[in-house]
Symmetry: C2
Subunit: 225 residues, 2 copies
DNA sequence: CGCGTAAAGTCTACATCGTAGAGCAAGTGT
DNA sequence: ACACTTGCTCTACGATGTAGACTTTACGCG
């Protein structure tokens, strides 16, 4: 017969949860469904997460842990750029998790968030401070940077259609529903919308932002050598 | 006795829904609860919204309608700046709705969104194109702009604590929970985090972004006279 | 006026959800 | 061999979204 059930662990539970979310969306992640995937009674899950909410937090944490940050890199601009691209890829890998990443912190004060979700903040602060920024400026840079980054990801995911074949078709079909009178420019842009290069767009945006930050902020921070 | 129940309308239902969300959060918006507020059977709501999801969309739409955009203003930079501040205030007025605004489009292709939520896009495109941008560039500008804007709002709302008195206390209390070894910079920044001026931060960000865009994009677009 | 039809609102019922609380089963230290 | 802890299961409860049949109200037209 099938595999003898191995002992459950938090990691096991969370990664099963993540898989479920990746495959079938956030709503599919119910206690009962997850229990079923793990061949356990739903109630057993409460050993490894207090709530469903805590479970969601755990999934966020798990995903964010996929993001590598090297706070000791002296080339802060390159590092920020790389992180941005990494996070973008992460988002494309786990699009269904993004709502969690974006939404849960809104109802959780900084100090009570899962540590894994606060760590990137600390590490980027470290990166910037080590690169010569005053702590306060580092915070400002972080805010502008992360704000822009999350904004871009949300933007891109909004326009992202899963099936790359029907991509254009779906888009046009969608746009076709808009009243021509009220949405002329949008409809006219349909072809452009259809081939959206998120990577390039992000990269340009980061460039603009970084050079802008550099210009407007305190001097004395080394540019890329 | 009390008011004779007036006939229900979509507007009535939606604004009651919005009020409920504003007052008690998204989770409080259940069919039953809303029915109770309107002194109607929960089932009657289905005349005015197909689903709970559709109801949520309606609320998004209602909120976004509070945002005024004047696409004919020739001073696009000033207009974008003003819209940014307006949207920020809107977000602070309806913080509980923001998760909706940000999350629902992720699961709804452009063409199937409530018209009210697509209109800002159209109008900003109009604004930019009328100001002299090529349509494609207008789209790029829009993306960078709206991305940054939403990013900022999410950022600010994350750090926003409802009770302005306990503000600092709560923040410190929260940060106090973080292990000192792992989060030294973040903890050191507690005082700075406590007095966050979202308006200023947004304004600077917009400045950086707009001048950056202007510099990197096709010339021939008039700067503010 | 009245009556037939459509619209608005209600009632009942069901599947599904999160989770409390009591209990069972296997391992562990003494 | 025995008490305890730890992992897991069972049963049960209240709440939710919503389908489908029903009743009530409003209204146009003879």
């Amino acid at each position: 017969m099938a595999s003898q059930k191995p002992r459950l662990t938090r990691e096991l539970v969370l990664s099963a949860a993540l898989e479920l979310v990746d495959d079938e969306g956030l709503d599919a992640l119910t206690m009962r469904r997850l229990g079923q995937v793990l061949e356990r009674d739903p109630m057993s899950l409460y050993r490894y997460a207090e709530n469903r909410a805590a479970l969601l937090d755990g999934v966020s944490e798990l995903v964010l842990n996929e993001l590598a940050i090297f706070p000791s890199d002296p080339d802060w601009k390159a590092q920020l750029r790389r992180i941005a691209h990494d996070l973008r890829l992460l988002a494309l890998r786990h699009p269904n998790v993004i709502p969690l990443l974006v939404t849960r912190p809104l109802s959780t004060p900084l100090g009570m968030r899962p540590l894994g979700t606060v760590r990137p903040l600390e590490q980027i602060l470290a990166l910037l401070i080590d690169a010569g920024f005053a702590p306060t400026d580092a915070l400002h840079v972080y805010r502008a940077y992360y704000g822009f980054l999350y904004g871009h990801i949300l933007n891109e995911l909004q326009e992202y259609i899963v099936d790359p074949e029907e991509n254009e078709a779906l888009l046009r079909l969608g746009l076709h529903r808009l009243p021509a009178k009220d949405f002329p420019r949008l409809r006219a842009l349909a072809p452009v919308l259809a081939d959206y290069d998120g990577e390039a767009e992000l990269d340009q945006g980061i460039t603009i932002l970084l050079s802008g930050l550099e210009a407007h902020l305190y001097r004395g921070v080394p540019a890329t050598p």
